[in-house]
Amino acid sequence: MGRIQLSQVSKVFGDVEVIPPLDLDIEDGEFMVFVGPSGCGKSTLLRLIAGLEDVTTGSIVIDGSDATTVPPAKRGLAMVFQSYALYPHMSVRKNIAFPMKMARMPQDEQVRRLEAAAQVLNLTEYLDRRPGQLSGGQRQRVAIGRAIVREPAAFLFDEPLSNLDAALRVGMRLEISELHKRLQTTMVYVTHDQVEAMTMADKIVVLHAGVIEQVGSPLELYRSPQNTFVAGFIGSPKMNFIEGPEAASHDAHTVGIRPEHIDVSSGSGTWTGTVGVSEHLGSDTFFHVTVDELSQLLTVRAGGEVDLHYGDTIHLTPNLDHLHRFDERGLRIS
């Protein structure tokens, strides 16, 4: 079991309210991702759940019992840190066994769990090495191994992939998702990378200045963002926002249209523009186009083989079914 309920939880550091009171319910077995820009309070929220920080107000209930003032070790949660936080003076074996040693688990049980974790994480041949002798990906796996052996009620991940290079990150992302499918344990994952959030989460919490902007499945957030912040944060490249007469013609203060929802043509279209910088990804090409009718820059997506160059004239047609409308406060108009 691993249900975590936060009610009216807030955190104040000195005079700064980092997290205004918020409510959140994390279901058992869910993969929940906290995403937001740097300084939005997502790591603080995770540390409050872990017990590494004390809440200023509110309560945290884990599996039905109040854990608000329970010390970290007694909450039954395991955490994987951004810096891996391995014990440099211990071998991989001792690192993974450390939480079991602290729990005074019988020796044979320790060995069984250690071997199982090493097997799952492909660490068997590295057990006698020190963390300093491992690559970044291997260190991250040791950190995950140390969390697994505790068989926790929930795993907490604090930006675990941000120290890895891009290729490794994609691999580890899959491994963590795979692990979640296999263990079916609640996972709470903090990241500033919306791609990680979209690809891994069952449910995403978008945070901004300590406030929950929206909670929902990745596709819910993508399809119907509740405000301009979520709309701009989720999706890559980010959504184009248009204000002024064009927005007014749709009865809105701001309209948003994603790059993939604008058709590109060299013949004709609603808008005409000039191609600026283009980014070729192979499968797709993103053009930054200065649109004459709107006097602003839009990002649009085209196929990978489109032959357009800097300075070429281009015609754009927005797909109105995918137009998002927002009022002057930035809230969605349904």
């Binding site: 970290p72 070790a73 395991a78 840190f81 014990y87 440099p88 450390f98 729990a103 140390r146 505790r150």
Partner: protein, 277 residues
């Protein structure tokens, strides 16, 4: 890119550095030379002393015959090691608290501790002497261990504080998440990671305590007198006996010099720790 340096410039720099090094080391060398001369030779003009080839160990014999070297030596060992280890027991938890759970006034507390080192010791000599007299711990090892622990405590805490701050807080948090109690966290994680820092703190403080001469001379007379008092006893009213004084000095500084020599790598690392990351 490495800068290119002319050979002539290198030679001059080496010469200047070598001369400076020799100048600094010379007094110690001079003491060693004098200690192997007879009293008659020792008071001759310096050049005559340097080039005389009569070497003798009579001063060492005379010193051992006159005073009990081993007793002073064992007092020095007990006082310097005792005060350092007692200091560690107090300093590790104190430095832990200040490094990992700093409060609003942690910096002030650290400065206050350091400020106690700015006070001239003689300023508190009379009260401490009277307290020691009333407690009956004048000329006792216990008293000296205590007073040297107290005067070196600010340095021990400062050094440990600096080392502890280099240890990432996340590792201690990981230990806490892994179920370690505060005691287990300090024993299994913090201390092993800080061993290099603790070792250099221990070494430096043993050396400081070994060489401490103000309190050891003022608070002891015979029973607990360490090697500093042993040297001092050779600048006596009977006159200066250079050779014997030198022999006594060599015997007093040799143990600590040897300890320092073997642990210099550790010491240098400790003293420059955190200077360059």
């Amino acid at each position: 890119m490495a800068r290119s340096v002319k050979t002539s410039r290198k030679a001059v720099t080496t010469l200047v550095a070598g001369t400076l090094g020799l100048l600094m080391f010379f007094p110690v060398l001079w003491i060693v030379i004098l200690s192997f001369k007879s009293e008659g030779d020792a008071i001759k003009a310096p050049l005559a002393v340097l080039f005389s080839t009569d070497w003798t160990t009579e001063s060492y014999g005379a010193v051992q015959a006159r005073s009990d070297y081993l007793k002073h030596f064992s007092n020095s060992v007990v006082i310097s090691f005792g005060s350092t280890f007692l200091g560690l027991l107090v300093a590790i938890p104190a430095a832990w608290a200040m490094a990992f759970v700093p409060g609003k006034r942690t910096k002030d507390v650290l400065m206050w501790m350091l400020s106690t080192k700015m006070l001239p010791p003689v300023g508190v000599l009379v009260p401490i002497y009277l307290i020691f007299r009333d407690l009956g711990i004048l000329d006792s090892r216990v008293g000296l261990v205590f007073v040297l622990m107290m005067i070196n405590l600010p340095i021990i805490i400062w050094m440990l504080f600096t080392y502890f701050r280099e240890i990432p807080g996340e590792i201690l948090e990981a230990a806490r998440m892994d179920g370690a109690s505060l005691r287990e966290e300090i024993i299994h994680v913090l201390t092993p990671m800080a061993i290099p820092g603790i070792a250099s703190t221990v070494l430096l403080n043993i050396i400081l305590a070994w060489n401490e001469a103000f309190w050891t001379l003022n608070l002891t007379s015979a029973k607990a007198a360490p090697l500093t008092a042993f040297i001092a006893s050779y600048s006596s009213p009977e006159g200066l006996f250079y050779a014997k004084l030198s022999a006594a000095s060599v015997m007093a500084i040799a143990p600590i010099l040897i300890l320092g020599w073997f642990s210099q790598k550790q010491l240098v690392r400790g003293l420059t720790f955190g200077a360059v990351k």
